[in-house]
């Protein structure tokens, strides 16, 4: 309050220019961030021919849900959805459990092997065996071509676990532990009844990080999964895009151009709606957790 009043009294001319320019730039950025997403949304519910001819830029025209209807009939997409939901839900739960198992002991100064273990875990942030050695391990433990291949190899993220750990250290008063130990609770009971309920914000943030990384994962399936019925949503989406492109390249040489064009247009509409259904869950989720973001991300977490 006081800061603003003083400023107003002095009223620097350069500050006024700065404020003006700042607001304009921010508004422009707002458009830059939002418009591409808005465009995909309106393209998904507009007539595909109008979209392709550039008539749909700001508002949807000739509303149609054809893209979404097409999608309902596209079976691969639903298997992909099911696989992704499985991996995201089961994966995130396991991620959170193991990350707490990582963070809780290592947050305790009296836990003797703390430093050694931290060193062992953090080293893997900077150095790894690489693609093929990792692939061979996954193959040898029999995870290749299973849904678990998309969960187990990335079970614990060091970074996320360190975020939880630093929350345990900085935001949970140490006196609580003494008090609950005096009451006769062991450290598991203390963790369950005191620490975890107090850590909801950080668990929400880290849970979201994990969920997003599972939901959006394409790489893991590309490397470890070679069966159509196990493909996650992102892989299905990618294949759909490739097939539309192939269709587009074919149109030139085919006699029945009209039918081809129709198929192409259908695919084009569906592509926008598929993007919407693929991106929407995470886009709807993050605003609920976003107030915790600032607390959750801390450089301190990474500094050893």
């Amino acid at each position: 309050m006081r800061k603003q009043r003083v400023n107003r009294v002095k009223g620097f001319k350069s500050d006024k220019i700065f404020d003006g320019v700042n607001v304009v730039v921010m508004l422009a950025l707002l458009v830059v961030f939002a418009w591409p997403l808005w465009f995909v949304l309106i393209a998904s519910i507009s007539d595909p021919i109008l979209v392709m001819s550039g008539k749909v830029l700001l508002i949807p025209k000739q509303l149609t849900l054809e893209g979404y209807e097409q999608m309902l009939k596209y079976k691969e997409l639903w298997t992909g959805y099911a696989n992704t939901i499985f991996v995201t839900v089961v994966g995130t739960v396991l991620n959170l459990i193991t990350s707490v198992c990582f963070a809780y002991p290592l947050a305790d100064k009296n836990f003797k092997p703390r430093r050694v273990l931290l060193l062992i875990f953090m080293f893997t942030m900077y150095f790894s065996g690489g693609l093929i050695p990792g692939y061979l391990v996954v193959k040898n433990v029999g995870l290749l071509n299973t849904r678990w291949a998309m969960i187990i190899p990335s079970l614990v993220s060091v970074y996320n676990s360190l975020v939880i750990r630093s929350y345990f250290i900085n935001s949970i008063p140490a006196e609580l532990e003494e008090a609950s130990l005096l009451d006769g609770a062991n450290s598991a009971q203390y963790l369950w009844r005191v620490v975890l309920p107090l850590s909801k914000p950080v668990l929400a943030v880290v849970g979201l990080y994990y969920a997003v990384s599972h939901w959006n994962d394409y790489y893991t399936a590309l490397i470890y999964v070679y069966k159509d019925e196990l493909y996650p949503l992102q892989t299905v989406l990618r294949n759909l895009l490739l097939s539309t492109q192939a269709l587009m390249n074919d149109t030139a040489g085919i006699v029945d151009a009209a039918a081809m064009e129709e198929a192409f247009n259908r695919a084009m509409t569906m592509k926008y709606s598929v993007i919407i259904v693929a991106a929407a869950p995470m886009l709807c989720l993050y605003p609920f957790v976003q107030k915790f973001f600032v607390k959750g991300v801390m450089v301190g977490a990474v500094k050893g």
């Binding site: 006081r2 550039g54 150095f127 061979l136 391990v137 190899p153 394409y218």
Partner: protein
């Protein structure tokens, strides 16, 4: 001497275990995970020096010395790979590193609270979209004639370009779409660091007649310097590991001269051509450069700015 020492160490451990057994049991599965999925693959690096035969296993396969490295250094597109990797990573660093800092500084001086909150929230959105979706959007938007970017170009009288087919444009598309996707998210950490700046410093500076730009330069930037340096060191450590996913997904036969990078090459020779030893060697080369850059950046910043990661 040593046996006595070991015994006391053992006893110490036993004592600690008795007191903290729950914590030991909790950490055990985590340790097992790291050994199997991180340390066993490190042992697999031996593949880079071996002629791998599945029947003989990693240890039993015959040594080949530095054969794969020599092959990599003399391969026809070695310099092309290095150049593409470095172009994408250095360009991303030069553009993608400072922009979130500037963005956070500007957000910090935005007096309209509602606008600030809205901009922040919307700026996070692209971060939550998958690489597959981002790359699909890029491809769709840049399609010749019908892509919306080309439609927009048409509106101002420019001719249509098949963006993804021009090698020269690849780096710009890669880097600026990355900025779009990451700047809001990367700014969070600076926004929270700026929130911790002592308001009295600002009040004093205002009294002394400092303008906002001067306050930015002399108060805000010095206050968040350690955050900036820390993130810079981390960034250096992954300089050579340009995101595989995005480059792979944007790659096509026309832009390949500019889009084949080390990690996509590792994938192709490793999992498409099944040339395990060679792929591992190329990957190891990449990792080693990263480690050298990380340690180097850390040493330099320790000397120059007295800040370090470890």
């Amino acid at each position: 001497m040593t046996s006595v020492k070991r015994e006391t160490l053992g006893r110490k451990f036993a004592k600690d275990f008795k007191r903290n057994w729950i914590k030991y049991i909790m950490i055990l599965p985590v340790l097992v995970y790291f050994i199997i999925f991180h340390y066993v693959p490190m042992y697999g690096i031996l593949l880079a020096f071996k002629d791998y035969k599945i029947k003989l296993g990693i240890l039993g396969s015959p040594w080949v010395g530095l054969k794969y490295f020599e092959r990599f250094f003399s391969t026809y597109n070695f310099w092309n790979l290095i150049q593409n990797t470095l172009t994408l990573s250095v360009y991303s660093l030069l553009v993608g590193f400072p922009i979130p800092i500037i963005f956070a500084l500007c957000l910090n001086y935005l007096r309209k609270r509602r606008l600030k909150k809205t901009v922040q929230m919307i700026s996070y959105a692209p971060h939550f979209i998958s690489t597959v979706v981002i790359c699909s959007m890029i491809t769709m938007f840049t399609t010749q004639n019908t892509g919306v970017f080309n439609v927009l170009r048409g509106l101002v009288g420019l001719e249509s370009i098949d963006f993804m087919a021009v090698p020269k444009l690849f780096k710009h598309i890669y880097v600026w779409s990355g900025v779009w996707q990451g700047m809001g998210w990367s700014a969070i950490i600076y926004v929270s660091a700026l929130a911790g700046v002592d308001p009295e410093l600002h009040e004093a500076a205002i009294m002394d007649g400092a303008t906002k730009i001067q306050r930015m330069r002399h108060i805000d930037i010095p206050s968040i310097k350690s955050t900036i340096i820390m993130l810079f060191i981390l960034r250096m450590g992954s300089l050579m590991s340009v995101g595989f996913e995005k480059v792979y997904l944007l790659q096509n036969s026309l832009n390949r001269p500019a889009s084949e990078i080390i990690s996509t090459y590792v994938y192709k020779v490793g999992l498409i051509d099944n040339d395990y030893g060679y792929s591992t060697a190329v990957g190891l080369f990449n990792t080693l450069i990263n480690v050298i850059l990380l340690v180097g950046a850390n040493v330099i910043s320790k000397k120059v700015a007295d800040e370090s990661l470890f």
